[in-house]
Amino acid sequence: MSVMSYREALRAGLHEALARDPRVFLMGEDVGKYGGTYAVSKGMLAEFGPERVRDAPLSELAFVGAGIGAALGGMRPIVEVMTVNFSLLALDQIVNSAALLRHMSGGQFSVPLVIRMTTGAGRQLAAQHSHSFEGWYAHIPGIKIVAPATVEDARGMLAAALDDPDPVIVAEHAQLFETKSEVDDGVKVDIASSKVRRSGGKVTLVTYGGSLPKALAAAEEVDGEVIDLRVLRPLDMGPVLDSIRKTRRAVVVDEGWRSGGLAAEVMARIAEGAFYDLDAPLARVCSEEVPIPYPKHLEEAALPQVPKIVAAARGLLG
């Protein structure tokens, strides 16, 4: 066991992946000489060489597509797109190739590709660098979306994603990089289940990624049970429904926008699976439906915050 930050955990996971499997390589903008935009791959160019730690031009569409091709060709690429915002430039390859190839080819071609990207707001980076599009990706059959919210998941999810024969997007919330926790060095985690992060009796708070610490803080005030979805596609609703059968109330917390968002999907599934167990309407706390503004006070007002979650939960408790 050792105490490490989320950033160090990502780094340890990446290092282990490169060290254990020669098919694994890292490709993306500034992953090599620069050491990674978030310093996750610092030192790895020197250790693993330029073939396996590969600086790419600002060509998201081509290098994500090349990652797909390399995966088809027998490699296990980890493609790093600097942020979820820039992943939009690679959408065609992610959606029209990676996600479709297996089904469309009648099961002949799998794409064992991992795409890492940071996501989320909270650092005054303004509207074009503060998106949370992981919920969008969760709309698409054929890819898996994971959102490590704990240091343990930051440490272990990459290995699980690389073991998966299909494309996996890893959405790492930029606000979590400095969180610290004790982690088992060789920890193994799955990318199939949601998990109870705090037990409680009065209300179920369902969340993921950067909103987990906020939900945990809110839970202290309302005796909340906190479920970390961990995997946004395919969703594991079992622990969510089990919890709601106990608490009979649920608030979904999602940094994505409200309309047509992941929170809406989770609420629909709760309504389908546990309607008669509910004692109150479902509630959600999402980002306000505005482009994320630059000034700190406005950015904070746009995002889910602990008081909003507490208020939403108390609204259900009557």
Binding site: F25, E51, R52, A56, P57, S59, L61, A62, F63, V64, G65, A66, G67, I68, G69, A70, A71, L72, G73, G74, M75, P77, D92, Q93, N96, S97, L101, R102, H103, M104, S105, G106, G107, Q108, F109, S110, P141, G142, K144, P165, D166
Partner: protein, 330 residues
């Protein structure tokens, strides 16, 4: 003004010449039958015919080895066929039958075949280019000597992904042969209406990439260019770009009323047709008789007939399998 029809002696052994002719004819007859089956309602969706362009795929694929990779477009029936996908499996795929080369899931635009190392059948213009770059990267990293042949049309040249992929391939000196099938139209828009620079080799040159231009109506000229391109890639010199100048005799797809080009232009290009001009050249030098041609055509028609029978006898994938292969089963 278009160039005069391909002419002059064919300096190939007759066996090779006849193989090239036969394969062009196989593509032509397969597609004529596909159009017929489309009219009969057996094939639906989009159907993009390669008629007129057969020399390009034939010339290029005859320059490839079995272990080379091929990435193609939605106009890829011929490429699949010459890579060794059985004609029956192609026809069955167009019918949407389970016996199709993509289990009927993809149809005309998404022919895949692992054994033939055919990675689609990509219906997003330019979508195949980065895949070919990635396949080549995988080969390089695994020290596999192979040509990754990437076919695409002139329309793809306008896409950002073309420029990104060309840059990446040249930057990393990857073993990719970029085979551009320039048929002068991006669907219904002529090259000069959408490109500021219509000499496509200039674009390759801007990346420092080797480039060749070939008469895509002449299977001999195209085959020589393709062989040269493959030799370049195999020698480890990195990627190469080949512009095959060709022409599509039929509409873009079965929904196209062809309002964007004059009938006279199509007729003029037909005088350069790759099959009849090559046939005439072989006959002129005594490498082919009319009887031989008729025998070849009869054999091809037999193959086409059997392909249709195979597709007709095919089965529908059970609805219960709808969600199969969205993900790999554990």
């Amino acid at each position: 003004m278009i160039a005069p029809p391909p002419s002059g002696p064919v300096l190939y052994p007759p066996e090779l010449s006849l193989k090239l002719l036969t394969d062009m004819l196989r593509i032509r007859r397969l597609e004529e039958k596909s159009a017929e089956m489309y009219g009969a309602g057996k094939i639906r969706g989009f159907l993009h015919l390669y008629i007129g362009e057969e020399a390009v795929a034939t010339a290029a694929i005859h320059a490839l080895a079995r272990e080379d990779n091929v990435v193609a477009t939605y106009r890829e029936h011929g490429h699949a066929l010459l890579r060794g996908v059985p004609m029956g499996a192609i026809m069955a795929e167009m019918y949407g039958k389970k016996e199709g080369c993509s289990r009927g899931r993809g149809g005309s635009m998404h022919l895949f075949d692992k054994a033939a190392r055919l990675y689609g059948g990509n219906a997003i213009v330019g979508g195949g280019l980065p895949l070919a770059v990635g396949l080549a990267l995988a080969d390089r990293m695994q020290k596999i000597a192979r040509v990754n042949a990437c076919f695409f049309g002139d329309g793809a040249v306008a896409e950002g992904v073309f420029h990104e992929s060309m840059n990446l391939a040249q930057l990393w000196r990857l073993p990719v042969a970029f085979f551009c099938e320039n048929n002068l139209y991006a669907m219904g828009t002529a090259l000069a209406r959408y490109e500021s620079q219509i000499d496509l080799c200039v674009k390759a040159a801007s990346f420092g990439m080797a480039a060749l231009k070939a008469d895509g109506m002449d299977v001999v000229a195209s085959h020589e260019a393709a062989k040269q391109a493959c030799a370049h890639v195999r020698s480890g010199k990195g990627p190469i770009f080949v512009e095959f100048q060709t022409y599509r005799f039929r509409a873009h797809s079965m929904f196209d009323a062809e309002l964007y080009r004059e009938k006279s232009e199509v007729e003029e290009w037909k005088t350069r047709g790759p099959i009849h001009t090559f046939t005439a050249r072989l006959k002129a030098q005594g490498d082919l008789t009319e009887e031989q041609f008729l025998a070849i055509d009869a054999a091809v028609m037999k193959e086409v007939g059997e392909a249709v029978q195979f597709a007709e006898a095919g089965t529908w994938e059970p609805v219960e399998d709808l969600a199969k292969d969205v993900y790999t089963l554990p």
